[in-house]
Symmetry: D2
Subunit: 319 residues, 4 copies
């Protein structure tokens, strides 16, 4: 193996740049040439390759986003697009591919292997932490800290006014972000997709705080009611109260990665290169309980990662 390539795809996540840096350095350390594909699978179809060197990745460890850009490619969802992509890899002499992203990215990588025998190793890059086969995904730790810092600010004003706030965080169909953020912010209630949102209990928690004290409620975007704005409307109808709504939004996707995200991204970058050298393919390189774990790509989306039970417990005891 002499030449490999990497791309980032799907939603970007803080730490992707630290990951790119680690892949580049590990590749060079192992005597490989390393190419970056700009623009995810779209860039792959278009043959948008650039040679990556130590110099180009010298100071990116601390920056959010991805220098390789990313996309959600419709063309790649068709067999024709994937055939064109495989052809590009062949033409450019790329013998192994590293794809960093979420489950959409992994579906694509799996198809590349299945249909065209492309040796492909994936790494978990998403703020949502919703991938089986790794305790944490690259970007998750930064996202929860960004949310916590924003909510600390909201609490200042909520506290000064004695207000009720419904704060919506990201996470798609998974409640990891909501749960960690909720515990970290001392939320009075945490609504997550995995559990029915109980408006009566939620309202009881508000009453328990009393009129002069603030109440902070964290809502995962995928909760059964569909987010904070809907719940606020229901609260108004049902209990005649008008909570303030704050949707943290896209800021959760950016920013300088935390130490944990940088270390995780670095570790998985090195191990992804080694996995290619070891002949591994169609797997995600994850990290669980301090060990590197290789999970077949199909399992990453067919098996479901669960929120630890103790988090539910904590949320009730500490509310």
């Amino acid at each position: 193996m002499k030449k490999i390539a990497m791309l980032t795809s799907g939603g970007d996540a803080p730490g992707m740049n630290a990951h790119i840096r680690a892949v580049v350095r590990a590749a060079i350390y192992n005597g490989l040439e390393i190419y970056g594909i700009v623009g995810g699978y779209s860039g792959l179809i278009e043959g948008n390759f650039i040679k990556l060197t130590r110099k180009e990745t010298a100071n990116i460890i601390s920056s959010g986003g991805t220098i390789l850009k990313t996309s959600r490619s419709k063309e790649f969802m068709n067999a024709g697009g994937r055939a064109a992509a495989a052809e590009q890899l062949k033409e450019n002499g790329i013998e192994g591919l590293i794809c960093c992203g979420g489950d959409g990215t992994f579906h694509g990588a799996h198809a590349l292997w299945e249909e065209h025998g492309v040796q492909v190793v994936c790494t978990p890059g998403t703020i949502d932490n919703d991938l089986y086969g790794t305790d944490y995904t690259i970007g998750y730790d930064t996202a929860i800290n960004t949310a916590v810092q924003a909510i600390d600010k909201i609490r200042d004003t909520a506290d000064s006014h004695g207000r009720v706030f419904l704060i919506e965080v990201m996470g798609r169909h998974a409640g990891f972000i909501a749960m960690d953020v909720g515990i970290s912010c001392g939320a009075e209630y945490i609504a997550i997709p995995e559990i029915a949102t109980n408006l009566d209990i939620l309202y009881q928690r508000i009453l328990k705080q009393g009129k002069t004290r603030r109440t902070i409620i964290i809502v995962g975007e995928g909760d059964e009611y569909g987010g904070a704005a809907v719940i606020a409307e229901l609260m108004k109808q049902k209990y005649d109260i008008e909570p303030k709504v704050s949707i943290l939004g896209h800021m959760q996707r950016g920013g300088a990665p935390t130490a944990r995200d940088r270390v995780l991204a670095s570790h998985l970058g090195v191990k992804a290169v080694e996995a290619l050298l070891d002949g591994k393919t169609d797997v995600m390189v994850g990290k669980s309980m301090h060990d590197i774990v290789y999970t077949p790509l199909v399992e990453t989306w067919t098996k479901k990662k669960k929120i630890f039970n103790y988090m539910m417990e904590l949320s009730d005891i500490l509310a």
Copy 2:
């Protein structure tokens, strides 16, 4: 003069605690007893007084919100409420009152003076910077920095995807926050209430960036269309593009104050106490071009503070 009191009212702003600390220390320095009124004008009507000492205000200089809480009191808008408030001050032997807040707060203070002869000095505490008689208000510098930091994160993800973002910031009917934040974030377009929002120019700026590069548009909440969500809808109808929308929301009201806000809050706190001792009343203590300025309360809302022309210029040249 032996006993004075202070309150915070209206929307809270970062730096109010640094301001309270300074008022307390300046009062003690000048041999006065100082009382805090908890809960703004509502607290005043209810007689919610607490004695403030150096110790209670020892570490609050760095915290957002206000330890005296705040409120928007409906009762105080009636003559009866104000009479009750004046009575409370009299009963408690308070000879002078310092009110920190925005124009609603100032209207109330002015009425207290007009109707009941209460000696009252106001200080500008609002993130919106929309008060005539001071270059900057307490909380403004923190709010723009909070917004800038959030938008830096959004730019990471916008950049990785080449997306168009409409980001809404606070500021009520004034464009100060939008303008400073827009220049600071290198926005391609800045929509403010003071100027007609030109969707065609806005669209041209997006086209100029091109499909693969991100566009950041900052929208002041009081812009003529009514905010980022409305503009996004119009952009879709008119030009068939779908910008992402992010409303920064209440986080802009909280957080540890910046150095400038702490210094301003401290300075105005000391000068407000001195103003009471000097017999001043019915005025706002502000700061303009490094000098302390006393503005009759009525002028603070009848005269209009303007955004510097050079900011408009900068926004065009740098876009």
Copy 3:
């Protein structure tokens, strides 16, 4: 069991307040009265007890330091001091004690149990992460992120000038902080107490960067040469270069805790209360690989926690 107490002792760590909040809420949840001892073991000897309630701990989850203060008590190191402490607990009807701190704190707690049969449960609160029996200590995650953020700033200026920087981080006799921070900052060399510091390799790394590019070297305070200033002096003598030195210092001990530190502190707080209720004593409540672990206090300092081998590997491959 009806009445318990808690204290914080030794060096403070971010997350101690989140931990206190969790202990208080878990105690109340379990029907216990909970007292705080102000000033660590010194406060215990003096009988400095205060009753803790939900209200007092309402907003402390996000603040650094410890509302219970801390100390390094010389008196408590004598049998007489400990006898007085045990007497205070007895007089106040305290049936169980939670002590949060590092190994000095644990020695004291162990002696209280051994000599006076006080039921005592410890929790790991130190930024150094040097306690056997838990993967991470409360405060560690915040400390490494504080260091990383400071070094990101230093890298800006190092990069602009092409300078060599020796940056010293805390960690006492353990290299956990240095290692995690070094990997996170893309350091060219990481000096830790566990491994001999090789000045020749260090110098080679500087040469490899070249004259126009910056070099960042992270030094754990307990390294064999005794820190960054000494190494700088040696570099000057040996290789005639003058690296800049920056000692991050005490800022690493403070600040708002990260999400991970808040969740860990909350979890361990709840479990410490449950451990007392279960009759456990003379143990530290830690967390390893997502599970709660109880380690006899003596083992926490006689057994040695090791840095993961893969961190050394990463540091070489990524330098």
Copy 4:
């Protein structure tokens, strides 16, 4: 005028990149070609020119350091070096030069004009704020906020232990940073170069706080005793107390610029280009009380900018 160039020189300061971006955009807006000189005056002597475009400066507004690098050039201090520099400008057809830096930079620029008739406009880029002719320098606001945030963390631990801390900040021979930071952090004493440091008063302030409460003392690096470490030693000899010392160091030079620094850097960048077009030379473009001010370079170092008297007052009243 068709072609201009710019460089950054001396100590770097946050906001220099925002300044470069503004110069580039203003140059293009005015129909000029704009070149960057890499490495300050050293780069100028070597002819290290690169053409700058909008694209290259697209996302640098938020980054610390300077993409043009900087240096302290010894060669440029000699007439021969300056002659070579002037020759390079001539050969490359550069008709006007913008130099961003501090007084060393300005001396060099002045000599270029005096000796070789190079049209040169300077802009104030230094964290120290020690330049006559501008209220604030680019980088100053960021530096004081960085220091304040670090000291907020130190206060957490100082408070938990009831310790005395001497914290040294930058500022060279000027006390601007120390004074603004001291007021912002609620320091008990602020030592600055402009005023004799009174150890007895300093000690009285420590005594006033009492044994159980922390004392924060801010020391400007240029104070008469030569910094925090020396004062600590004197305190030990004279009063038998051992304050902790923390030297904030180089982190004060880096990091993402604040909103104010970005706006100032942007404004001065646009005006520097316009100044060249207007035929101005041998001047610094500064900003005072919201107006752009042009100061002959010689005056920037022969006249002395003073700390506002009210800051001294505040420091006494609020201590």
